[in-house]
Subunit: 476 residues, 2 copies
Amino acid sequence: MTATDTDTQLNDLRGILGPEYVKTGADAAPWSHDWPGHAHWTPLAVVRPANTREVAKVVQWANRTGTAIVPVSGNTGLVEGSTAEGAVMVSLDRMSAIREVRPEARVAIVEAGAILSNIHAAADAHDLIFPLTFGARGSAMIGGALSTNAGGSNVVRYGNTRHLCLGVEAVLPTGEIIDLMSELHKDNSGYDLRDLLIGAEGTLGIITAAVLKLHPKPMAYATAMVAAPSLNDALTLLNTLQRETGGAVEAFEFMPRIFMEAYLERYPEARAPFDQMHEVNILVEVGALSPRDATPGDDGRVPVTGHLEDVLGRLFEEGAILDAAVAQSDTQRQEMWARRETSAEVARLRQPLIDNDIAVPLDQIQTLLEQIVRKSQAIDPDLIPMCVAHLGDGNLHFAGWPSTDDPDTLKQIKEMVDDTAIALGGSFSAEHGVGLTKKPAMARHKNPVALQAMRAIKQALDPKGIMNPGKVLPEG
Amino acid sequence: MTATDTDTQLNDLRGILGPEYVKTGADAAPWSHDWPGHAHWTPLAVVRPANTREVAKVVQWANRTGTAIVPVSGNTGLVEGSTAEGAVMVSLDRMSAIREVRPEARVAIVEAGAILSNIHAAADAHDLIFPLTFGARGSAMIGGALSTNAGGSNVVRYGNTRHLCLGVEAVLPTGEIIDLMSELHKDNSGYDLRDLLIGAEGTLGIITAAVLKLHPKPMAYATAMVAAPSLNDALTLLNTLQRETGGAVEAFEFMPRIFMEAYLERYPEARAPFDQMHEVNILVEVGALSPRDATPGDDGRVPVTGHLEDVLGRLFEEGAILDAAVAQSDTQRQEMWARRETSAEVARLRQPLIDNDIAVPLDQIQTLLEQIVRKSQAIDPDLIPMCVAHLGDGNLHFAGWPSTDDPDTLKQIKEMVDDTAIALGGSFSAEHGVGLTKKPAMARHKNPVALQAMRAIKQALDPKGIMNPGKVLPEG
């Protein structure tokens, strides 16, 4: 690309959006690296359209000129899905409106740049929730959450982002606007393009708006830390709690002793969950959705909390759990969540870091973890394994601190983790997506017929290959 | 097609499957018309493969020879999605195995020809349910339910078929087998091909097996008939019951007076729901998922039933409902369901019949129905409007008995119904799919960019156009 070519391109973009919304050089720096700081790139420009029409104009121009486009919203991704060397990044950050909350219909109509925590607040004003939540909610935008089908901590109850979305609007690689903004719970009118765009990581189009499903806000929460003898015992605990509460478990998160120790080292003012350290620590939260469960009884106890205390008390008597502490205040609840939500920061305390995002069927988690620890220490005997997990949905973030930064050893460990998950019926990518970092795993593990079908769909919808090129699909 | 060509084709198929599994002529008669009896066709042959490998061989042959293929399972569809003039019908009926039920993982692994009620029984043996249910469950097969993303009566609680499926296996139009038999709740490894195949009505491939999500079986049900002053009052009732029960409403079905009268005429031995006839009759069912809600108390009442009685009693006192009867036995519960489940038969008591399958946002249902009745009687003043609805999910089956069989008048009424739903943010196809009968509505109402993207995907995956040709997608 010559300087003149670049000038022409930038002038075109300035003509479409106005010069103040075309950022280059130092102005583009915030968009020039990923959140973990692993990847750095120099985009041709970062453009900030004001609305879907402007996004469409930019994509039409890119399609005409064969320019690579990389959509970006909160830039909190973990798989290098927004690297953009020489590409035009389309930032959705100005399209942040929460257009409408319709409480009777339990929907929110939002633009792609709406920040997750702002959507939470908008729903909360109507005693509703948008259940999707994870650590980066203060900067993550819904467009990115949709494009990666983000998961998080409440999937056990409410499903992934895909399950929380009724309709989308997007700009296809041709620059055409596709309007699938349905609010319907039943709509069988042709192929499911909505779910194809969700999770496509911006390779099939740019999601610009969405109809989100809201849920009733639990009238009370019962939250507890529980120490279990083993991961399998923790799963029995999950099934018991689901049965006793009628499926009201909102979160079921696993933190090992080694994580607790690292957490306390990083945050010396924080408290340990129990007087004694345990190997298997579970954060469990139960939501009360009915007044019967949330209205304090004659003894002053909120039924949902009292019930959780009773069940955990019984399990303690039976020796099924080693310890338990039920939050008695919102402050105690926040303290329990604070531990879990720092996991990404805690894992990054040491480098190099092996981090993974794998899933297996629920009944395979203990086997998976045992195998991974054994096999990784067979490769690097001094590796420190640290693993947190969304245990309720089978998603495990195995983080390991190896004693070496030898690339071959690190690669060997990473591949072993993926291989082990796959062998147990799992996936090498649970909730973070593929981006660039999981492409080798896609090539190794994804069903070849599926890969071929994905490539055919990509080719059909983006024949010029301009939308987030090089991401998700390994070369054929 | 000359006789010799046909002979060659049949011989090829007999060679692949064995002669006894290639049916022609009178032997193929059961597959030569649809359930409502509207459509009749003569297939080249009906083939009955024993397994996925045989399906693949048949499709490979069809792809090589350019032969049209029409998959069929229970043949209970309502939109002429399996018409097959001169085509090879691939019946999945021999692939009916329920391979495995894994109660801890809450999954069932089934072949496409498994009959829905057999899946229900297999889940029930483990105190689990597969929630998808509708009138035709005794002959409908899961392959067809997946291919049409079937809905039914429990969508308000559990979602459509798509929400109840974790993984699929299918034979693509090339004859390749695509293995997406994931059991995972989080699996972001590329495009969502599963949901693309689900609801594609056999135009992108033949679903051959699936991993189904099972849910805990409610430990008790509280079921009631309620008479409401209006449809909007019924919606208020729904919201009240959802709030009071913590979202445990399993079904919320609307039957108008005119349907009740037709039902009693058709089944003279049946009972009316109330002493007096009401305009708005609701069948509501609440599931008790926890022992606390299902274990009889000191007064002998099952809490879920007692609670429903209390809430309905209070609403009756307030004048919010006109009457209510809570089932006191399983026999009474079955009697309530029997009314609703005969609706397809009752609608077909008179001909001609205008039947529709439309959906609107919940808060638009009363407006929709009022407008449709008014506008249809403006076209045909003697039209008898009869409408049942899955009110809890916004899906309305408007059935009308017009006084004329003039095709233009019938077409005018049908289009008016679709237009009215669309104008209220609805869909012309809620749960039955598109098939042939809704193709004109697809052409009229579906977003043109979406139609174009669907055609591009069809072309990419089925370049020879052999899979269920002519269905779903209107000509470009």
